[in-house]
């Protein structure tokens, strides 16, 4: 339950960054896509393989900032993965299948947090990620320890 709520939160955050900014915001310099240089100026964080002229959002043809593109692709992949894990959690024939699916969902949350940190270049969720990998297994171990000898 908690894991699915966390997934929804992380996904909503990523989608919010990627798509749901208002047009007014899009004209403003985007803190996600701008890197502060040592001399205080900011520059668009794009690779040379992609045009440098896009200001944050899709603007014209073929001028998508590379990191935004990666963010969208990863968001789609992780959303599909989370949907599959939730499906397995809902239909899973046994309790242990559901526990396994919850573990996978937790790992997907961790992946979303790590992607957010890598793309947006911050470390705000690093402590959460460490805690997740430290205590994430306790739930499944507890359930597996006390699972009863019956189907279902």
């Amino acid at each position: 339950m908690l894991a699915s709520l966390l997934t929804l939160l992380a996904m909503a955050r990523v989608w919010n960054r990627a798509f749901w900014r208002t047009p007014q915001d899009a004209q403003l310099p985007d803190p996600v896509l701008l890197a502060t240089k040592p001399d205080g100026t900011t520059a668009l964080r794009t690779s040379k393989y992609v045009s440098n002229t896009a200001s944050g959002r899709f603007q014209g043809k073929g001028t998508v900032p590379l990191m935004t593109l990666v963010l969208v692709i990863v968001t789609v992949i992780l959303s599909l993965a989370a949907a599959g894990a939730i499906y397995r959690m809902a239909v899973g024939p046994s309790l242990l299948d559901r526990v396994l699916a919850a573990d996978v969902l937790l790992a997907i949350v961790g992946a979303a947090l790590a992607t957010d940190m890598a793309v947006n270049r911050h470390l705000h969720s690093l402590a959460l990620l460490v805690a997740l990998s430290l205590i994430g297994f306790i739930g499944s171990v507890t359930v597996a320890r006390f699972v009863l000898d019956r189907k279902g």
Binding site: K48, R88, A111, L126
Partner: protein, 143 residues
């Protein structure tokens, strides 16, 4: 944006993008295995293995984007604990699955635990004839 520094920056960016994409695909692979495989043991196999590699790649991408050695120990701690805890939970789930017979015998090529359980059952029956032998005893000795 010219010169060797910019080129190195671009290479690091491309490398971390590749890491991020492959790491996300590992999560997707785990889910696909979770959905397609027929029984608990094979689902467990798919669910536990790709995630660790995926997390390693994503943490490497975080480290590459930060370009700061001070981050490295924390990332290592996160990954090592993942490496330590994932097998523990998989082992517990596997034990519980074997005990509650959530596995398909026809899909196992070798059931190494079967001999151990049979031997332990024989020993338990011979050694303590006064005690009623239950399934629970057998499995706990077998494990």
């Amino acid at each position: 944006m010219n010169g060797p520094a910019a080129a190195v920056d671009d290479i690091i960016d491309v490398l971390s993008i590749i890491f991020i994409l492959v790491g996300a695909l590992m999560s997707l692979a785990a889910t696909i295995g979770l959905l397609l495989f027929p029984d608990l043991m094979s689902r467990m196999h798919a669910a536990t293995k790709p995630q660790v590699l995926g997390l390693l790649l994503l943490l490497a991408a975080v480290g590459l984007q930060q370009r700061d050695w001070a981050v490295l120990p924390v990332l290592l701690v996160a990954w090592i604990f993942q490496l330590l805890t994932v097998p523990v939970s998989a082992h517990m789930v596997g034990c519980a699955g074997y005990r509650t017979k959530h596995l398909r015998q026809d899909m196992l090529s070798v059931d190494e635990l079967d001999d151990v359980v049979a031997a332990a059952a024989g020993e338990a029956v011979r050694g303590r004839p006064d005690r009623t032998h239950t399934d629970q005893d057998t499995y706990e000795t077998g494990n």
